[in-house]
Amino acid sequence: MSERARVLALHGGLLVLLLALHFVLPPYHHGNLARIMVLASYAAGYNIVFGYTGLLSLGHALFFAAGMYAMGLSVPHIGTGTALLAGVAAGGIGAILLGLLALRTRGVAFMIVTLMFAQAGYLTILYFGAWTRGDEGFVIARASRMLWGLDLSDAAHRYLAALALFALVLGACLWMVRAPFGRSLIAIRENEPRAAMLGYDTFRLKLAAMAASGAISGAAGAAYALLFGYAGASFASVEYSILPLLWVLLGGAGTVLGPFIGTLFMFYLIDLSSGVTSAYMLIAGIALVLLTLFAPRGLMGTVRARLWRWLP
């Protein structure tokens, strides 16, 4: 098989498997998998900046929450389809604005600036509690969760909608890493001065990576609000900036499948441990330390290094 055929077979095969699981999974895992696909889309958006461009952002909860609140607050006024697009736009525009400032710094300073802006965003949501209902959050009415005649509060529709979003994001990421745009991002990650010397406008490329990443994160946030009918300030907290980092690290930074694999494993790990103890974030902490110490390439990164050199 040619490399292209292998890549298409592997990623297409995953999507077919997910579609097949729709018909066989028991309700509990069916619901979980729908949630995992939305969160994995968020992680895939994060992966563009962290995995492919090599920028450690700790502020992506800002874009996820921007998408979520843009969708949730506007949906009663402008209809579901437009509100969904508003969520994508909010994530993308937020990322461009933050990128214009934060990309002037590098390394540790970039991480702190993104963290600080996300924190300011979180506090802003709390400050305007009259509209956002703060920590308590608000429920999105069932009437607002109809898209093209599909009732998204229905479990089957919800799963298929999550799958559609995930397939779209996966396809976009696959296209990106094979396109010149994605290749130049990898060049920046590996050696930014050299990429600049070869004539690439690295600032503009990094800004474009931020925009794409923010738009996907915003789409995931908007989809989360739409599918699960809830928006709350906790989705803007630091924890939701750190979780995609954890998912991507576990699955493998800079791989297309990594975000999904990492989200799947971590979701079930935390789900299982939260049955045992209320201190379930302990698992996340231990995983972060062990991954940085022993497996910085993550699961799919290791598979690529040992087994399938062609893995995108």
Partner: protein, 308 residues
């Protein structure tokens, strides 16, 4: 009350805050300056100090001053030892790579915080102050063309709060003396200036790193022991000091100790004053944005001269 007494009260509260903040931030700044490590788990070392202070005072018993005195020594030592262990088992093995240590210290943050939740529980618990006399403060007014003192109602502080301010100043002077005058400080400054050259001159850089990381954590723990009789010990109390310490360290210039102290006083005082007169959430938003913008447009900090 008039504005004057109000302001005095706000400044006193701010000074307590500034003193604790300066200790915490100097610890963070020391670690960043010497090791180039951004320690996200610093706030959890602060929290551990407060929680250990509660355990120690419970175990020692006797008069409050005895238990508190023991906690003042024991809690920073234990926290420092934990930090040294974390440095040797985790950070050293990452070769102090800036980005990977950030991820690892985020992991440490959750490990320490969640283990505390499992062991200590979700309650907030008070620690009794060793002494707590109420001191009424005088204010002046112009009466018949002459200054006269009077004691406005509500204008008071406690002896303990004044002691915290004093203790903060004393410890900061101690840190300064150590850095500027002692052999240990000289070695630390050498490692900060040029790690490879220090190594070439036979300085055990890895041992210095472990010591600095322990010292930074111990300073945070000490600050927490000082503040715990005023606030309370809770497993989530590390988040606010972490963000404030970041703010201070960035405004003061990453890795510059004098800048850190000046910024701590500035931010502690303004935080005290702003939260008396304005909404604390709004103040936090503005402070956070200010910090981010300082980092973008003046990465050397408002007082720093060296680039970070």
């Amino acid at each position: 009350m008039d504005l004057g007494p109000y302001l005095l009260l706000a400044i006193l509260e701010g000074a307590v805050m500034a003193s604790v903040l300066a200790l915490t931030a100097v610890g963070l700044s020391l670690v960043f300056g010497v090791m180039r490590v951004v320690n996200i788990a610093h706030g959890e070392f602060f929290m551990l100090g407060a929680v250990l202070a509660w355990y120690v005072t419970q175990m020692v018993g006797g008069p409050p001053s005895l238990g508190f005195g023991v906690a003042l020594v024991v809690a920073p030592l234990i926290v420092g030892a934990i930090a040294v262990a974390a440095d040797m088992t985790v950070l050293k093995r990452l070769d102090y790579d800036p980005e990977r240590t950030i991820v690892a210290t985020i992991g440490l943050l959750y490990i320490i915080q969640q283990l505390t939740l499992m062991g200590y529980g979700p309650e907030a618990r008070p620690v009794e102050p060793p002494f707590n006399t109420r001191l009424a403060l005088p204010w002046f007014e112009v009466r018949d063309g002459a200054l006269a003192l009077y004691w406005p109602w509500g204008l008071s502080t406690t002896s303990y709060k004044l002691a915290v301010i004093g203790a903060g100043i004393a410890v900061l002077l101690g840190v300064w003396a150590m850095m500027a005058r002692s052999q240990m400080g000289l070695v630390m400054r050498a490692v900060q200036a040029d790690r490879d050259m220090a190594l070439a001159f036979g300085i055990p850089v890895e041992r210095v790193y472990a010591m600095v990381f322990g010292l930074g954590a111990a300073l945070a723990a000490l600050a927490a022991v000082l503040i715990v009789p005023i606030s309370q010990a809770h497993y989530l109390m590390g988040a606010d000091p972490l963000l404030l310490a970041f703010t201070v360290v960035i405004i003061g210039g990453l890795g510059s100790l004098p800048g850190t102290v000046v910024a701590a006083i500035l931010i502690g005082l303004s935080d005290g004053i702003i939260s008396v007169f304005f909404s604390p959430t709004l103040a936090k938003i503005l402070a956070t944005l200010l910090v981010a913008l300082v980092l973008v447009f003046r990465p050397q900090g408002l007082f720093g001269v060296r680039s970070a």
